[in-house]
Symmetry: C2
Subunit: 397 residues, 2 copies
């Protein structure tokens, strides 16, 4: 080929730095706080695979092409699961996706025209921004405070003439900040969306990983107008490799997702859908969740107490009530990429904050995940970062 012309949407697409960091993390001498992975120690593999005992010579038909909306047994189990969160759904409100990530990609495909304004939290999940970016919207980054995205600021911008097509939020234990949106803020955001006919994309993969405090209903549970599209996933609560996620929305929206899903990959892997349905039907997900919540709380506590012990007090940190992430705010002028390189010298991996923002701001932030390291390594890793900070300060002066 003399001259390959990729579509404009692909021209500045670059590999994610997280993937590059993950390659380093394969070296066991590194302590990894870089990934967004859950702890594999807790994957209930034998329980998930127990479905396989039910496969016999009459099961061939299970390996045929299946429907794009997903396996009905699994959709029924998901309806029960999210009912506990206050979300009411019927079969035709649910489509199975290949992980939450596909839910984001299909959402971009369904809604985004070039130039549409997408409101996103500052910072936000880069995988969502990358998925949406391929449909060429304009991202509008809105600051967060301790209650979540600033609805006041969104209002001000709407008054200035901004027309938001979608607002994308991760209300619980947000990636990357670990912050949770308050109940009041959820209500305000929903009211605003109703008033201005904005679609809220609620990406909530960590919802059932709360290990402290009281559950706050998902925004979808408060939605009486159909403005909210809920994107869920079993990647963090069961395991990622099975790629089982779902979308919950109004029927007329799900119909369009089904068409987009059919064009995208016809349907998701059927065996893992059946395994997941069987697992949810025959085992206690609650018991499993209690176990992993306990483990993640121990890890988070270990990280916070190591931060308090080893970091200078001008390093600010979030203290999440669930999920996988702690977000550090470094002094003004510090650059996450430089810190990352100093950390690599100390054999610990982190992700610079700029990588979580559509506009590549947040230069003086870094994200830490405590999920996959054991307690001792968490303390050791924080010590190494403290050393990297010192090296950074030394190199500046």
């Amino acid at each position: 080929m003399k001259n390959i012309k990729f579509a404009r949407r692909m021209q500045d697409a670059e590999p994610s730095i997280i993937r590059e960091m993950l390659k380093l993390s394969l070296d066991p001498s590194y302590i990894s706080f870089a990934g967004g992975d859950p702890d594999p120690e807790f994957f209930p593999i034998s329980q998930i695979l127990s479905f396989n005992k039910k496969i016999d010579e009459d099961s061939n038909i299970l390996f045929q092409y299946s429907v794009s909306e997903g396996n009905e047994l699994l959709r029924k189990q998901i309806i029960k699961y999210i009912e506990e969160w206050g979300i009411t759904a019927e079969l035709d409100n649910i489509i199975i996706t290949s992980g939450g990530q596909q839910g984001l990609d299909l959402t971009g495909k369904l809604f985004i025209e070039e130039g549409d304004i997408i409101g996103v939290e500052g910072p936000s999940y880069m995988g969502a921004i990358n998925a949406f970016r391929q449909y060429m919207p304009k991202f509008d980054t809105v600051e967060m405070d301790d209650e979540g995205i600033s609805v006041e600021e969104i209002k001000r911008r709407i008054e200035k003439g901004y027309k938001y097509k979608l607002i994308y939020v991760i209300p619980d234990f947000q990636n990357p900040t670990g912050k949770t949106m308050s109940y009041a803020r959820r209500k305000e955001l929903l009211e605003l969306a109703k008033e201005h006919d904005i679609v809220i994309i609620e990406d909530n993969p960590y919802y059932s990983l709360r290990f402290e405090g009281e559950n706050i209903p998902p925004i979808k549970a408060l939605d009486d107008s159909g403005n909210v599209i809920f994107i869920g996933s079993f990647s963090k609560v069961i395991c990622p490799a099975n790629r089982v996620g779902w979308i919950c929305a109004d029927r007329n929206i799900i119909e369009k997702y089904v068409i987009a899903k059919q064009a995208a990959d016809i349907h998701s892997n059927e065996l893992s859908q059946l395994q997941t349905a069987h697992y949810l039907e025959n085992y206690s997900l609650d018991e499993h969740l209690n176990k992993i919540r306990y483990a993640y709380k121990e890890k988070k506590d270990a990280m916070i107490s190591a931060i308090r012990k080893y970091f200078p007090n001008y390093i600010k940190y979030t203290n999440p009530q669930g999920g996988l992430f702690v977000w550090l705010t470094l002094p003004e002028g510090w650059v996450g990429e430089d810190i990352m390189n100093k950390c690599i010298d100390e054999k610990v991996t982190i992700i610079p904050g700029s990588r979580f923002c559509a506009d590549e701001s947040r230069r003086n932030n870094i994200r830490l995940s405590y999920a996959t390291m054991d307690i001792d390594s968490i303390e050791e890793g924080i010590k190494r970062i403290a050393k990297a900070f010192k090296e950074f300060e030394r190199s500046k002066s």
Copy 2:
């Protein structure tokens, strides 16, 4: 939501008629020639699942997030598999996709800008047209003769000023016609692509299902310039529900596919990738293929001999050397949709030819699949269609 504004690309997306037909096919009183499904009787399920015996308590890491390019063991097995077809590839020439369908969707994402001209065979696979359509190209349908797409016609159109971005072809046992592109035509098409810097998308899911005649090399096997992107799949040769396909292309193109794949669903289901790799490594795919080739040949022969026995001689048909499909050409003025309805009255399902064409022409064609019915049902189904033809002629006169 008062007013949901989907993106333009989704506004006229409609559910596929094949899916609707498949619902009818679930009723056992119907004989189904409608689907594009392989015969589930031959899925090597216990062999595929034999990998599971290797899963033990150390296997949790297999269920963690994995790389977007796909499992390395599987990519190595695919390299061996397509080497037998004359395609030379290294690891970084291969990406695993969730079935061939995802290969098509990602291809649209990588290359198609609104208004780009995509050359397609007339008729062609509707799943590809639907996948590409979401990126809003202009389809240019080019007639086929018995040697495949008319390269002469493409040349004439290029001389008239058409600038093709992609040309999409299914060279072997094409869906829906069952036709195979000749060696000479493959060479001509490739030369044309090189001369005019056009990307050839070679979709070849049926390649190893040849049951008569001599293999012709895939276009990719003749490609010394990187103009060809090969989309492969195990859906028809192993089983569809596992959703394992691949793309083979130049390294710099695969790099972009990896980025698009990461945004689309991060990676494909890992267990089915491992199962497929294990199957290919430990069992004889050749032996399996010989079995299914023999079975499909028997079915095809049964369909052709029933057509000769029951259909009036003004019904034209293709006689494929592999794959799953026979294509009927009815007299001018007959309408596939009307025939379909008459067929439903006779309890046999078929797909009207218009559904395989971007411009909804081919009104007097229908597609038959012989893949999933047994020999007796194939004869009975053709008898029923012959009756439907008579009913149609009666209703016209």
